[in-house]
């Protein structure tokens, strides 16, 4: 039985005001030790609010959050000890340089001056920031700032790391670099909760994904299973020199093929699983195959199916 590092139970948050906002409307999920868990949803879905409650900065209307078995709502102090956060916005201390940002963060977590210095230097080394030691946060590129924030978030050895849209606004290169670091942290035993509205990010990084919309979780599963739930794992688009009905019925009869659909200039075949690609193509080659493209189902399509609309980006 795997250890539950985060338990979110029946979370509700209504922002009071002239017009009350029902930001979170009953969200529950568990995150296991060592997992990268994704909250995927469009703007205003309630991702940041959920993370805010779990990280003790937002007071829930009702519901409970247990961080490493510590109740984050009734005992925020002990819960905060166990988690690190990278918020949606750059919250690096602009009055301090990069090294000081790490150093004072450690001090906030009770390190002595000597321990904090050692830890800051170690982090600078590990995150390859040694040539940015004296840089001011405003002078850092988006990717670098994010890397410093990540280093700072794990400085006190949290069991649980929250990343709220960590790659929003980063260029593809920096995004890739950040993904690498997150994966390395996972290998080293950190459990990660990540919010995003990038399908690809959820797909590449997350072990399990919760699809959130309008303050509710629509579905939780592995990216793989979510995609399978569409009915097919992979599509093949084939173009033939000449398309004959005889050939098509032969393909349709194959065990590997679920369904076949004739489009204007090509034939779309849905496969039982992605391992069947080669077998079907081999067959098609004998029928005068001209062109082929493989279409992996994306979380995007899962999302559209679940919510009936596209993810706003």
């Amino acid at each position: 039985m795997k250890e539950k590092v985060l338990q979110v139970v029946e979370l509700v948050k209504t922002y009071t005001g002239l017009r009350p906002v029902h930001a979170v409307r009953g969200i529950s999920f568990d995150v296991m030790k060592g997992e990268i868990f994704g909250l995927l949803g469009p703007n205003g879905a309630g991702k940041t609010t959920t993370v805010g409650i779990a990280t003790t900065r937002v007071v829930p209307t009702s519901g409970t959050v247990l961080v490493d078995s510590v109740n984050a709502i009734s005992d925020p102090q002990n819960a905060k000890m166990r988690m690190g956060v990278v918020t949606q916005f750059n919250t690096l201390d602009r009055s301090l340089n990069v090294r000081e940002n790490l150093y004072y963060h450690c001090r906030y977590f009770g390190y002595s001056s000597k321990e904090a210095k050692a830890r800051a230097d170690e982090l600078l080394e590990l995150f390859q920031l040694t040539d940015k030691v004296k840089s001011k946060p405003i002078d850092l590129s988006g990717g670098l700032a994010q890397r410093v924030q990540l280093a700072r978030a794990i400085a006190h050895y949290p069991k649980l790391l929250f990343l709220d849209e960590p790659t929003a606004g980063l260029d593809p290169q920096s995004r890739l670099a950040l993904w690498e670091v997150v994966k390395v942290l996972q290998e080293q035993g950190v459990t990660v909760i990540l919010t995003t509205h990038y399908m690809e990010e959820a797909d590449v990084l997350c072990d399990r994904v919760a699809i959130v919309d309008h303050g509710k979780i629509l579905k939780v599963d592995t990216p793989e299973n979510l995609k399978k739930s569409l009915g097919a794992s992979t599509f093949l688009d084939l173009k033939f020199v000449e398309t004959t009905t005889d050939d098509l019925s032969k393909i349709e009869a194959m065990d590997e093929v679920l369904e076949i659909e004739q489009l204007t200039d090509r034939v779309r075949i849905s496969l039982k699983d992605s391992d069947s690609v080669a077998i079907v193509i081999q067959k098609a080659v004998t029928m005068g195959l001209k062109d082929v493209s493989i279409i992996e189902p994306t979380l995007e399509s899962v999302f559209i199916k679940l919510t009936g609309r596209e993810l706003r980006d």
């Binding site: 000890m81 166990r82 919250t91 906030y108 001056s113 590990l126």
Partner: protein, 306 residues
């Protein structure tokens, strides 16, 4: 190092592979610790408080020159013009104070008091308003393992420290610059320390209250509507008792906490001047401090936690 280099250098080889980590000396502890075996998650509010204070003092030390000149400028010009220049060129307000006491003497407690009070408001209020309203930098400190009100209390204490430094910077100026004699005499040291302590506390708490309340775009407005009346009507340039000829104003200014700071310092620094009764200003100062402390911590907590 750019992100390009970062990727090219192969993060995985430098961060993941144990052999590589071993070569980096302290890195293995990074591994084990993250696996959660060697970490004790013990909370120590005192150490966190100390860490927060260390951070603020570090930032202050970086801007010490700027801070000192900003603090000194206004009182320096003020005493220079009104207590040095005016007597020399034969202009001046001896006022209705009488008893052969110079205007310079009146200014001593007033200017020290206003410097101390404003310093905390500026040092805590302004950065906090921007922090809470624009940059959100406070979020990292909000994640420190202490109750949020303690983070606010640290701000108050830090504001009080700056307030004290300001008073110490201004004091020699107002004593040394005037061209007329200044009669300063401290008879009651414990009372002096108590008044200064309360003034500094009020200043820090006032800063926290304003910083948690005011939107960054309204800072200019706050200055004209709050800070200016606070100083002009704060018995800084005249003793409270001399307002007796404008009775309604003498009563109206009693809602201004600045009055009690000025009068308190007047009693402990320049006892030759007429001043408010000790029990009166002490009680007012304590009530003000308590109210602002409570309001500041409450408002701050509410701003940080939504």
């Amino acid at each position: 190092m750019t992100d390009q280099d970062f990727v090219n250098s192969g993060v995985d080889s430098t961060l993941t592979k144990p052999s590589n980590l071993d070569q980096q000396g302290s890195a293995p502890s990074f591994r084990t610790a993250l696996n959660g075996t060697t970490i004790s998650y013990k909370v120590s509010s005192g150490r966190t408080f100390y860490g927060l204070m260390a951070r603020d003092l570090r930032v202050l030390s970086k801007n010490l020159g700027e801070f000192a000149s900003r603090t000194a400028m206004q009182p320096f010009l003020f005493v220079f013009v009104f207590a040095y220049l005016f007597p020399k060129i034969g202009q001046g307000f001896s006022g209705s104070v009488g008893r052969n006491i110079s205007f310079a003497t009146i200014l001593v407690p007033g200017l020290v008091g206003v410097a101390a009070t404003m310093s905390g408001i500026m040092a805590v209020g302004l950065p906090l308003a921007i922090d809470l309203g624009v940059t959100k930098e406070i979020e990292d400190r909000a994640m420190a393992p202490v109750p949020v009100w303690l983070i606010g209390l640290e701000k108050i204490v830090f504001g009080a420290i700056q307030s004290l430094i300001s008073a110490l910077i201004v004091f020699p100026l107002v004593i040394l610059i005037p061209s007329t004699p200044v009669q300063v005499h401290v008879a009651n040291w414990p009372l002096l320390i108590l008044v200064i302590f309360l003034a500094c506390l009020i200043s820090g708490a006032f800063g926290l209250t304003l910083g948690s309340m005011v939107q960054p775009v309204k800072i200019g407005l706050m200055f004209s509507l709050l800070v200016l009346p606070l100083t002009m009507l704060g018995c800084i340039y005249y003793p409270w008792s001399s307002l007796s000829s404008v009775r309604w104003l003498q009563i109206a200014v009693l809602i201004n906490p600045m009055v009690y700071v000025s009068e308190g310092l007047r009693d402990v620094l320049t006892p030759a001047l007429p001043h408010m009764a000790v029990w009166a200003f002490l009680m007012a100062l304590m009530i003000t401090a308590a109210v602002l402390l409570f309001a500041g911590l409450k408002l701050f907590t509410r701003r940080v936690m939504s």
